[in-house]
Symmetry: C5
Subunit: 97 residues, 5 copies
């Protein structure tokens, strides 16, 4: 899974019918400190993540293993909001309370 930051949302009217009602979030992969790098991509939000949240994204066929994405043409899903990241016994990222 990737550590990613939610940076925005996408809106689409013309889409596969299985995507109706799904939330399309714009995310960017981050490093272990929550700093974004790389190109944005779109992931389906299944955990009510908000803009600015650090999340985990899951790709490929595994992205279809949530209740909201079963049998759906999506290849990336947000299935976890990150509370903290810990390296060498220290918190290097803590979600704002």
């Amino acid at each position: 899974m990737l550590i990613a930051k939610v940076i925005g949302t996408a809106v689409s009217t013309i889409k596969d019918e299985r995507l109706v009602g799904r939330k399309l979030m714009i995310v960017r992969q981050t490093d272990e400190y929550g700093t974004p790098h790389g190109k944005p991509f779109i992931a389906i939000d299944t955990v009510d993540a908000g803009e600015g949240d650090l999340v985990l994204t899951c790709s490929g066929s595994s992205a279809r293993q949530t209740n909201q994405t079963k049998d759906t043409p999506v290849d990336a899903v947000i299935m976890s909001v990150i509370d903290s990241l810990n390296i060498d016994g220290k918190n290097v990222f803590i979600k704002n309370p």
Copy 2:
């Protein structure tokens, strides 16, 4: 999913029989503003996207989850036309009306 721009079409006569009747679009990944970068690839169009449209593409086995691509040897599909992209409360991309 990737944000991508439709830049052209491909024509093929000799192909797997399951591809007959499928529209082969040339697309390039874009950033969140719709600016293309990276190498072109080919995706099957399932939503009547046109050249110049910003779309979502879905890759891998998930590309076979549309009615038009079931059990078909394709690994990328266009399954959504993007209306707008929103970052920090502002529209950074709006489809031409």
Copy 3:
């Protein structure tokens, strides 16, 4: 799918039994004009492509969706020979007649 050029062939005697009789082609991804870039990879030819042909390759589990590659340990297949590529209403590539 990738636009790719067939640049050669590979020969293998010791291989998984499901690969017996399959044609192993050396291909390289190209841009929309047919110019190769990047590293070569091997794809199973299912459409009698020849060296020099521009083709479409399909990767991952989707590469097993042809009659010749079902249940076979292969992750890339040639399933289409490209006749032409069209961008902005112009043919940027036409197969030699």
Copy 4:
């Protein structure tokens, strides 16, 4: 599979229910000497790996082939702790006893 080093852990309260009880490890791919390079990613630990361990990670649908990750939205799993890496008849990495 990738050779990777476990560098930390991630904590998440809001997550897909199938992730409850799973250990989220922060890992980085390494070279054959165990030196990390590239961006960190998150893998589910199924073999009680510890921070600092060199491990094997498995990605994609194959990450769901362990007892702990079946039908779960995860795309990377730690399923092996590396004892040693051997190149040209020499151990280039040995796990600390």
Copy 5:
């Protein structure tokens, strides 16, 4: 599939039970002349490949299509030893007899 060179072996005691008895080879992708480039990765050997051999590797779910890797958490497999690579009618690589 990738053209890859076997450069070593990995040893692991603590691992998923389905990996018991499997040979873990360290491989690096090569170009069409057999020259390695890029980072090493680990593939399960199913064809008794030896160090120094040029082989084909298959990734993702397709790596589970051999008899030795069915239902196993592995994402890369060696399923072919390369005898020769031919470009423009010339052998650019021939296996040492």
